[in-house]
Symmetry: C2
């Protein structure tokens, strides 16, 4: 099968004071701490144009997720009906890719300091994309 | 190496009249055709709560991408300096994950009709997430 699977290779990882999933806020508008993104040497040219003030979308691999989960109780409330994970931001899902909107606070070689990030220490980084005004914000 | 790589498994694929990369608009505010998202039976419970009118973020695997590209000429203009791919939305990048904001027009079992999508026919689907007002739009 041509599309049986694809291998994502981390481009770096998160350095954060958050060390367990329960401590990670569920949505990025809750209080999450600033964090460092530490990139691998092999991708240095890809991040050469990132600057403080840039608004970015960060894609991560939620490596502690349970990939067999297809439906969850909203906010863990078992008195409510289960919801399909594609209608939630729950980390447990078939391909646990995290989507985080952050701003760059500082750039230092292979390290970027970013605003509040709801990802635990060691979370692998998959991609960084700029926010496009008028597309992502419309 | 614990983080040497992770395998993403497509949850479905795009059905679109777009059949080659050159025909695919680069940004989703350009004219892209409506498309069908066709999901695999195994993820049926995950999409059970998606409804017409839902605003979603679609993650795809840009399977024609060149993963060795780290910098590109903006809009292909070779008179301008190259830009690191993490500051662009170019499909060629180390982990070619596409990020698309679309609305659900119709839901029919394992098929979802969505608004303009700049992804070619056969593009593998990786994940669907709801847009969160106040988080993604702030």
């Amino acid at each position: 099968m041509e599309h049986d699977g694809f291998v994502v290779r981390p481009i770096g990882r998160v350095e954060s004071p958050l060390t367990d999933r329960k401590g990670a806020p569920r949505q990025s508008d809750e209080s999450a701490p600033e964090a460092w993104l530490v990139f691998e040497e092999r991708v240095r040219p890809a991040l050469a144009d990132l600057r403080p003030g840039d608004q970015i979308v960060l894609l991560t691999w939620l490596h502690r997720a349970d990939r067999d989960v297809l439906a969850v109780y909203p906010r863990g409330d078992r008195t409510r009906p289960e919801t399909g994970v594609f209608s939630t931001r729950a980390p447990d899902r078939p391909n646990p890719i995290g989507l985080h909107r952050v701003a760059v606070l500082a750039a230092d070689g292979l390290r970027l300091r970013v605003t509040g990030l709801e990802a635990i220490d060691g979370t692998p980084l998959l991609d960084v994309k700029p926010i496009l005004r008028g597309v992502d914000e419309r």
